[in-house]
Symmetry: C2
Subunit: 412 residues, 2 copies
Amino acid sequence: MESTKKYNILVGQSGGPTAVINASLYGVIAEGMRHNEQIEIVYGMINGIEGFLDGKCMELSRELSLGEIELLKYTPAAYLGSCRYKLPEDENDAVYTRLFQMLEEKNIGAVLYIGGNDSMDTVSKLSRLAEKRNSPIRFLGVPKTVDNDLMYTDHTPGYASATKYVATTVREICLDSSVYHQRSVTIVELMGRHAGWITAASVLARKYGEDNPRLIYLPEWAFDMEQFAADVEEAFLHTNNLIVCVSEGIKDKDGVFICEYGDGTIGTDTFGHKMLTGCGKVLENFVKERFGVKVRSVEVNVSQRCSSVIASQTDIDEAAMSGAFAVRAAMEGETGKMAAFKRLSDTPYQITCELVDVDAICNLEKTFPMEWITENGTNIGEEFLNYVRPLIQGEPLRRYQDGLPVYVYRKR
Amino acid sequence: MESTKKYNILVGQSGGPTAVINASLYGVIAEGMRHNEQIEIVYGMINGIEGFLDGKCMELSRELSLGEIELLKYTPAAYLGSCRYKLPEDENDAVYTRLFQMLEEKNIGAVLYIGGNDSMDTVSKLSRLAEKRNSPIRFLGVPKTVDNDLMYTDHTPGYASATKYVATTVREICLDSSVYHQRSVTIVELMGRHAGWITAASVLARKYGEDNPRLIYLPEWAFDMEQFAADVEEAFLHTNNLIVCVSEGIKDKDGVFICEYGDGTIGTDTFGHKMLTGCGKVLENFVKERFGVKVRSVEVNVSQRCSSVIASQTDIDEAAMSGAFAVRAAMEGETGKMAAFKRLSDTPYQITCELVDVDAICNLEKTFPMEWITENGTNIGEEFLNYVRPLIQGEPLRRYQDGLPVYVYRKR
């Protein structure tokens, strides 16, 4: 591929959906189309690298109308479909030869892969292999994860919208719980297997300092049942309607997940991650037995990651920005890098994009800073509020039809 | 109380919260203040009739600013607090003498009670007792329930916002479920112990006729596990990512709740209602064992009733209208009645308020019409769509501060 010759780019989505993974896709498509002097077609792989290997692919820049491309910014989940496919460790596996052949046949100059930790592993493998094979194809990562657990980036696109959803929903649940004067406990179980970023956001639900949720537990802090009972006891001195927010992945000092204290089914996904369920239920039963009060547990579930109705406009804009930035980086010859955010200041909030090596990122996890956890593991400090508040600003002006939000769907 | 003398009115909220129970409260306060030639103060009982008996009361028209009264329209849950208090059956119980004394001391001319079925029972008892005691105090009901199960009203305030929340959320869950190409089933458990109104609304989530959710089960239709397995089998012919929406209260032909097939804890609330949990989990395990596919269950939980971020503006307006209508009815000397909605036409959608006897309403339940359930209990007919679509129109322009919705809170 000569630098004067036009080439095509290929974009894919991988891992779990978020509210803004399609905003990143929008950024890639829009930036690709803006550079039509160099880039001919923006291809999209259907169901990630796995689907592409099966020959599933579409011409995004030609098949979508401009209106549909615009609407991607406000459509949750993964427009192109996703996969949880792990490339083989053996570099000589036939799958690689086939993949590079397919890319060459389509005159792909750059592959943009939107995803989380595991997707960055894919970008890392392929960029290193391209070098070994003397292939000019560039591989760039665009970050995406509600978990906010990628290293070397201030935050990840998707996290802010999850945060805004959680803060809003917990604030509503606090109101819902406050209507009866009888003593009650509501356990709200939030996402977060290993990192407490999402659960920490429940602190935003408070309208004043001592308000609910009064107890917030993250997986980073060793959870202790007896200490929890003491915390609940103490909280009842201040409120009759106690809200407790917990990460699904809270564990004790020996590393045993609290959900394993119950009879919750535990499985593992294709990456060997433990699949958790039910620490909320375990705590519900514990409080019921110990205190004899009205208790309920609420699992906020998938809407945390896939609801776009409570999305952050800042998140949408930044997701699009990171997608566009990755395209420009690829055009400048970069490969094996991820578009990261660097914060320049909190007030006024300013960030810029920069490139970081995917090798440095993949298979690492950025957990919640221990020094931001306060009051013996039950509260979140002011530093986090300064960090997170700028991210949730702005409400998108959504398109509604017949009372429901309008999204763009892929023809199947 | 002479008709020329000024009097006060008293408003209370009872039963579970909704997105618009405070909009009804707004209607009562605003209408009361508009008639200041006759009505001196709009009092609010804190925690319903139970709290009022304990002396908990506030002067709404004096303690709240106009801005706060306006903000009530957009604040979910029950601003005044609620109760689940059942008045004694014995008319000679001392509680009644005390209650009427307290009302007379405060120069109350009319009591407006915002609530569901059980609250209308309270209105019925008190209005009949007032008559027997030759008390001039009028008792009027303002309907409220997400369940839409009150008789003699086209629908109930609160239902439309729950519906809009469910339709939007299920549409997002459908997108979330569609990202992987591997066969999967998502069971979405929605509110509805005996009436399928809320769950039926999941049909609105479809963007085209054959779309997900492909299977919808209401409590009105006898659920059969083997038929369900056959339905799932058939659905897999059309989609790889099946979404099944079920009411929490689905039961078999013998009246046994499906959640009782599992090990879900069952309790009863103070009115003797069975408290259900977990038919979604039961179906999840059933599908997993029978089909060996990826299955998850999502319990949409309390946000259905308490989220105001996806509220229907039509619902908000109508809730306010019914509150105001009840105040005017009370001023005209009506008692023992509820403000009901009568639909004049579907297109254009037009409703009017009318009065119905609370005696006729309380302790009855309006279930989902059997003739609107189609395809052997798995789908919802067009008649329902015509009924429900007008109700979910309009999105409130919310006030946001620092990225989160602004609500009005009662000082405690």
